[in-house]
């Protein structure tokens, strides 16, 4: 392994959509700073993978690894462990690595259900009712594909994580700020925050960044966005459409509410919230304007999918992590 003496940098994707990588590439010229200050040793999207080089490296020899993507199968887990071993600082980068993100909604169903659905859709012709197998014997030999685990897990449920950087994807200006910070640390001009810190985000909520007016108004009905002309000035939640802003960590600048669309919570739980959905349920129940059980129930009928609504990004990182049918073999 040749080295130019600069600290080593790596970025990796496990079960992810690639949007986190795009967000990093979108920092444009800042990428040059990365190049100037680090030796990029491993970054599949931007350079040759050099996996064997990684394996041959000494433990802890990579200074900084940004890891995006969740742990869905045995391959993801294997690489997470390897990179942990080789990296001094491992950052869970993006919602998938932090909390499972949208693909972790799969934790509401057993893997068998996922398979049964995907391989029997209306457009699928599957007369022999086949499912992909980890090992398949074909006339010429055996073929292998990775094995899906029963549930999606977050990075820190598999290995020890040093810092957390939320967002789906993290906003590019936040990424640039984090890179700046690390470079300053390298130059001795700043210090690393304590282990476990959430970086590249704020310490309050999206509501705190949102320009919409809140009047502490209560509501008699939850509505779906397609049925409401959203007033451009007022809080979306107070207009009866569920907005996750109050449970979500600040950092994006409240982009979605500014575009007339509710915050859907991609920056994960706000500082101090142990469970995103619990925090959001608290906020949502407090805008309900009723003390009568039947009326409350009727109003709650306006939230037909609490699990999907309150754990859109956080299922894998939530206290319950998965629905019982997904993990209970009985």
């Amino acid at each position: 392994m040749t080295s130019n003496g600069k600290p080593k940098f790596a970025m990796y994707w496990a079960a992810s959509c690639g949007g986190c990588e795009i967000a990093v590439l979108n920092i444009h010229e800042k990428i040059l700073d990365v190049d100037a200050n680090f030796e990029v040793v491993f970054w599949p999207v931007a350079m040759d993978a050099k996996y064997k080089d990684v394996e041959a490296m000494e433990d802890g020899s990579i200074l900084l690894t940004l890891f995006n993507g969740a742990i869905r199968n045995d391959e993801n887990e294997h690489i997470a462990k390897l990179l942990r071993q080789k990296s001094k600082i491992l950052v869970a980068f993006g919602s998938c690595a932090n909390e499972g993100c949208v693909p972790a909604l799969a934790n509401l169903s057993p893997v068998k259900d996922l398979m049964d659905t995907v391989y029997t859709t209306v457009s699928t012709e599957n007369p022999e009712n086949l499912r992909p197998q980890p090992t398949t014997t074909v006339p010429e030999g055996e073929l292998y594909i990775p094995t899906m685990y029963p549930i999606v897990r977050t990075l820190d449920q598999v290995v020890d994580v040093d810092y957390y950087m939320p967002g789906c994807p993290p906003e590019s200006h936040q990424i640039a700020a984090v890179i700046d910070l690390v470079i300053q640390v390298l130059q001795g001009k700043a210090q690393l925050p304590p282990k476990g810190t959430v970086i590249g985000a704020g310490g309050s909520t999206v509501c705190d960044e949102c320009k919409r007016k809140r009047d502490v108004k209560h509501i008699k009905e939850f509505k779906r966005i397609q049925h409401v002309m959203i007033d451009p000035e007022l809080c979306i939640l107070e207009q009866g459409v569920i907005c996750s802003g109050s449970a979500t960590r600040s950092g994006c600048g409240a982009l979605c509410p500014a575009a007339g669309s509710p915050c859907i919570g991609c920056y994960g739980p706000a500082e101090g919230a142990l469970d995103f959905g619990a925090r959001l349920m608290t906020a949502v129940s407090s805008v309900i304007d009723s003390n009568k059980p039947e009326e409350i129930e009727r109003i709650l009928d306006g939230i037909p999918d609490p699990a999907g609504m309150f754990y859109r990004f956080n299922m894998a990182g939530s206290l319950l992590r998965a629905s019982r049918p997904a993990w209970d073999k009985k």
Binding site: V45, R72, A106, V111, L114, V118, Q133, G141, Q226, H227
Partner: protein
């Protein structure tokens, strides 16, 4: 039996791998291109509020979330039987054109360009974007970055975010644009047209003017006589956002056009146990395995397919290029896979022209960007052309608008069978009697690039650099040789 494993993005990436088996004589017995991941969106979108699905399906792919957001938006419109006002449709299409310009640019300059600009015989070390910049001048790199920035700026203005837009809902959009934004968008659009023309000129000067390169396209080893599909408007002109899907056979004869709601009559998916990704084919023709010709249901959906399946382009400059394309390559349809790159640039020009058309429509800044649905939600299909192929989203709901069934046929899936065929063909022609031609990597790599497979949709990889590795093992599994090369 001897086995050769080609690992694009290496096994560790888990994004796709090719196993080639040799027979006793050392010739190719068969090859398998495997996709090692499945996420199950079709299952976990069920039970969700249907208007959320265009947000959830964004997360299928961070390279083309715009495509999923648009197909999803059109599907939820259909579910609610609501026709968005013209302004909403134009804004969505405008966002989409900006996205197309960004995406096609990235592909051409970062991935495909090097093959052509530097030539397939150039040393690997030079066949990358840096090599291109070196050869045609420094300012080209700046232009590529500029194009990408402009595209993302428009996506954010209309879609609310740069990656994973959030503004499309049943019946339209959650916001419109201001006159100032429009002015800015128009300016960027004019720049995009110039950039597209510049790119075509570059292609013209370097590739078409060079008989050796032209031969490469015409004599393409990846010629497959397959069917083609692509979205067209009422005049059978290529359209990315709306219309019907035109289907043509290998002779270029149009078999018909289907509306989104009719997709399941035309397209079917085949399952193999050795890969997580399904293989699509034309249902009316049937699955006959990985074979070409009129009798095989295998089709392709790429920029080239869209050109083959249409009667032309809806904008004047792009139409000129379309005519030139078929004149140069000997008429319709064109079967050579390397021509996909050229087709992509013609589409880039169309997207830029359409961008300006939309930005200069007086209705584009209207406040009328929403229609509130009044009907009960039921079922709907939305189709757009993703850069990598026809994208179909199909949702069924209960009367509360909760999804009960979700079906997705994503861009790259359309091309899974042809890619498998191209790989197979390359392997067969370059591995003979146990001798593996050093050009194998090169050929496989070029095949991949032409299709621009984005397994972010199918799985999650980017159309970024693809390290290819071929491991050759003897019958006991012992490594005999390793061929390795990185695609920059």
């Amino acid at each position: 039996m001897e086995r050769i494993t080609i690992d694009p993005i290496t096994r560790l990436e888990g994004h796709g791998k090719i196993d080639i088996f040799l027979d006793a004589e050392g010739n190719v017995a068969n090859s398998y291109f495997q996709i090692p991941e499945m996420r199950g969106f079709e299952r976990f979108c069920v039970g969700r509020q249907v208007e959320e699905i265009p947000l959830l399906t964004n997360r299928i792919c961070g390279v083309c979330p715009e495509a999923h957001h648009m197909a999803g938006a059109k599907a939820v419109d259909a579910v609610y039987h609501v026709d968005p006002p013209p302004t909403a449709k134009m804004l969505r299409e405008l966002l989409y054109m900006a996205f197309y310009c960004t995406d096609h640019t990235t592909h051409f300059y970062a991935l495909a360009g090097p093959d052509f600009v530097m030539g397939p015989d150039a040393p690997v070390a030079e066949r990358n974007i840096l090599g291109v910049i070196h050869k045609v001048g420094l300012e080209i790199g700046g232009k590529v970055i500029q194009m990408r920035k402009y595209g993302h700026t428009v996506v954010e203005m209309i879609g609310g975010r740069k990656v994973h837009p959030c503004t499309s809902i049943p019946g339209g959009l959650t916001k419109g644009i201001t006159k100032e934004q429009r002015d800015e968008i128009e300016k960027m659009g004019h720049w995009a047209i110039e950039f597209a023309q510049f790119s075509l000129k570059l292609f013209n000067d370097i590739v078409l003017a060079n008989p050796q390169y032209l031969d490469l396209i015409v004599g393409d080893i990846y010629t497959h006589h397959t069917h083609y599909i692509g979205l067209v408007d009422d005049n059978n002109k290529v359209n990315f956002y709306d219309g019907k899907v035109s289907v043509v056979d290998p002779d270029g004869v149009r078999l018909g056009k289907y509306a989104p709601a009719e997709y399941a009559d035309w397209i079917a998916e085949h399952v193999e146990p050795w890969t997580y990704l399904k293989f699509t084919y034309l249902k009316k023709v049937g699955w006959k395995g990985f074979t070409e010709g009129k009798e095989s249901g295998v089709y392709m959906a790429t920029p080239l397919s869209r050109l083959n399946a249409s009667d032309g382009m809806a904008t004047p400059r792009a139409q000129e290029e379309y005519d030139k394309f078929y004149k140069t390559l000997g008429g319709k349809p064109v079967h050579q896979r390397l021509a996909i790159h050229w087709a992509r640039l013609i589409e880039l020009l169309y997207a830029a022209e359409r961008w300006v058309e939309l930005a200069t429509d007086p209705e584009i800044t209207s406040d009328n960007f929403r229609t509130i649905p009044t009907e009960k939600p039921t079922e709907g299909v939305g189709i757009v052309e993703a850069p990598r192929g026809t994208l179909t989203h199909h949702y069924t709901t209960d009367e509360r608008g909760i999804a009960t069934k979700v079906n997705l046929i994503v861009g790259t899936t359309n091309n899974y069978a042809p890619i498998q065929m191209s790989t197979n063909k390359a392997a067969r022609s370059l591995i003979k009697n146990g001798k593996v031609n050093e050009g194998l990597l090169n050929m496989v790599e070029m095949a991949f690039r032409a299709y621009d497979p984005c397994f972010g949709c199918a799985t999650h990889s980017l159309p970024g650099q693809m390290p290819l590795e071929i491991t050759i093992r003897d019958a006991e599994g012992k490594t005999v040789d390793v061929l390795k090369q990185f695609i920059d």
